[in-house]
């Protein structure tokens, strides 16, 4: 096999596991969508709408950023949506019962993290493929949430709490700040910490990573817990933004989050991708939906358009991917 040492073009950056060209195409795509929309709809380029897009992208991004870490290890977490629903309902109850938003937030994060940890345990200790383990978890979470909520809605939260999702600071919505903060933290974690590097190594070759002295199982537990906690965070934003929660809020969140990760250039085979890419992916997805709303396009076209975008994004990846052995 190695008879012919093919000299191949060198990747642009080595320690960022995604090369600049791919990121460039992705940003270009986002820019082109913006350009087309601004021509078609005059209200698109208004500051209000741009903030609007960012705020809507933030919810997808929170879920998708945690999911990115899971996908980097060549895993998948199908339970994130159901996790958001359960965490939101629990957090909402705690706020109602105790009147303390802080306790509520902590409950949401802890619930999300616990579910993530359980996913991690199934994947590591019980050695169930992540795809199936989290699918099972999805049903279990739905069951618990349905039973717990019994068809009710939790609504009406203190004004202070509601600021998180709908408030403004210096003219920008607070979720946008949170988005930027978590984008920075996530990128820093993935690129500039040894744990992040180990996660990339695990995704690229779990056996080699283990035999290089990386505690693979502990890192996987961490990754699934972080993914769950990010779902918990999303549940808080959701709760605060909509001022209410019910059992079915998670259903429509999982597939867009996965799509955002994929559009962002993270490979399902693990080891390749960035949090920033996922941010751009969330942005592209939100831009398209925003555009369809602004142009009053029939919502029936939405799944079709999303599907086409996923294909184009991944196809672009194939064209610009770093050469393989």
């Amino acid at each position: 096999m190695s008879d012919v040492a093919k000299p191949a073009p060198l990747p642009q950056w080595s320690f960022l596991s995604q090369n600049a060209a791919q990121l460039f195409y992705r940003l270009l795509a986002a820019f082109l969508i913006c350009l087309v929309l601004s021509v078609l709809s005059e209200s698109f380029l208004s500051l209000g709408n741009i903030l609007n897009v960012l705020r809507q992208a933030s919810l997808t991004f929170f879920i998708a950023s945690g999911l990115t870490l899971v996908v980097l290890t060549a895993g998948l977490d199908l339970s994130v949506g159901a996790n958001v629903a359960l965490s939101a309902c629990l957090a909402g109850t705690v706020i109602h019962q105790t009147g303390s938003p802080v306790l509520g937030i902590l409950t949401g994060l802890a619930a999300g993290g616990t579910v993530g940890l359980m996913n991690g345990v199934m994947v590591t200790a019980m050695r169930i493929p992540s795809f199936i383990a989290t699918y099972g978890m999805l049903w279990v979470l739905n069951g618990v949430t349905y039973w717990y909520m019994a068809g009710e809605t939790i609504h009406g939260f203190p004004a202070g709490f509601r600021q998180i999702g709908s408030g403004y600071f210096l003219g920008l919505p607070i979720p946008v700040y949170l988005l930027l903060v978590f984008l920075a933290i996530g990128s820093f974690f993935a690129q500039r910490t040894t744990w992040g590097q180990e996660i990339y190594a695990i995704g690229a070759n779990p056996v080699a990573a283990r035999l290089s002295g990386i505690p693979v199982n502990r890192r996987l537990l961490l990754v699934y817990t972080v993914s769950g906690t990010m779902a918990g965070l999303a549940s808080i934003i959701f709760l605060s933004r909509l001022n209410s929660a019910e059992a079915d809020i998670g259903e429509s969140l999982t597939l867009p989050a996965i799509a955002a990760v994929l559009i962002g250039g993270t490979s399902l085979f693990g080891g390749v991708g960035t949090i920033f890419g996922t941010f751009v992916g969330s942005l592209i997805l939100t831009l398209v939906l925003n555009g369809m709303n602004l142009l009053s396009i029939n919502a029936n076209w939405q799944p079709l358009v999303t599907g086409i975008i996923v294909i184009i994004a991944v196809w672009l990846d194939m064209k610009t991917r770093r050469p393989t052995a």
């Binding site: 208004s46 809507q56 009406g156 079915d248 602004l294």
Partner: protein
């Protein structure tokens, strides 16, 4: 609600609750609803439970594990027919696609009462439902009257193709036609979902500088739209439909202008009542279409009680409620 409180204390009651079915000596009534997530169907189920308790019958609930799943509800019908309950109170997840299921029930000679969505086929002892068209029309009229017959209005639709949505939106549009001074800016679907409605509203506010009224096809979407308006520091009058607890609270606090009462509680009560009456050989009313009530700040008090405390209407009340 107390269900949830107990859970707040101990989550592990899950299995225990499985075994605490109410026992009764009377008839067994199987109640089919669309999903476990929409608060409306919870009001239906509580209504059915209340009525069964009063009449000493036993209720079994059948709800698809995937919300609104047609194949699952069909499977549940097939399973229930084997079990042979005394009667069935039935909400089809889809009014057309469930017809073969209803026919299966008919073939098994189990009396069945249709509630909420009128099935497109099959034989029923009785139909209990609300008039979606009138609800849309009346709530729409109320909004436009409050606006003085003019202004910019948007509609947030439910799930395309669902029976309730088609009729409610038709009602909204007819109300708009009666008020030529009002202008319809957009009619976009929010799929009966809070988050989608919120995002649709946010986006619509970008392309429309002035929105005076919002007609939402259910309460969850209406509340979502209100959150969007609040977030943008804009004001508009919003109406919803269903009369859920959340909507009542919003009306009380002045955020929501009005909600059309879909009265799931009464539907559950009356559906169960008709089923049991037919089993007991008592006269039944073949069709009750509940008259639309627009719940506003002026008349919300009777609706502001917890479900468990509400009482089912009597048979005599029922005949007045909208018998044709």
């Amino acid at each position: 609600m107390d269900h949830r409180k107990s859970c707040y204390l101990a989550l592990s009651l899950l299995i225990a609750s499985a075994t605490t079915q109410a026992r009764a000596d009377g008839e067994t009534i199987a109640v089919f609803t669309k999903n476990q997530t929409n608060p409306f169907f919870q009001t239906v189920r509580v209504g059915a439970d209340n009525m069964a308790k009063a009449l000493n019958a036993k209720i079994l609930h059948y709800i698809p594990t995937k919300p609104d799943s047609i194949p699952e509800q069909l499977s549940q019908i097939e399973d229930v027919v084997v079990k042979k309950p005394s009667a069935i109170v039935f909400t089809p997840v889809d009014y057309k696609a469930m017809v073969p299921g209803v026919e299966k029930i008919n073939d098994a000679k189990i009396p069945v009462v249709n509630i909420t969505d009128r099935s497109a086929g099959g034989k029923f002892v009785s139909f209990i439902g609300a008039d979606d068209y009138s609800l849309g029309l009346e709530t729409g009229r109320f909004l436009l009257k409050t606006l003085g017959g003019k202004g910019n209005v948007v509609i947030i639709e439910g799930v395309k193709g669902s029976l309730t949505n088609v009729d409610r939106v038709r009602g909204f549009n007819d109300a708009l036609k009666e008020n030529p001074g009002a202008k319809l800016l957009a009619s976009q679907p929010g799929n009966y979902q809070r988050l989608q409605a919120l995002q649709v509203m946010e986006n619509l506010m970008q392309s429309n500088a002035q929105i005076d009224g919002v007609l939402a096809a259910n309460d969850a979407m209406a509340v979502g739209a209100i959150e969007a308006l609040d977030g943008a520091n804009r004001k508009a009058l919003v109406i919803g439909i269903n009369g859920t607890k959340e909507a009542i609270d919003a009306i009380k606090s002045g955020k929501l202008l009005a909600s059309g009462d879909y009265n799931g509680f009464a539907q559950g009560c009356l559906g169960t009542m008709m089923a049991i009456r037919s089993l007991r050989g008592q006269p039944v009313i073949a069709e009750i279409v509940l008259k639309p009530t627009v719940i506003t700040k002026d008349n919300y008090q009777p609706f502001d009680v917890s479900l468990e405390q509400r009482t089912c209407p009597s048979f005599e009340d029922a005949s007045k409620l909208g018998a044709k």
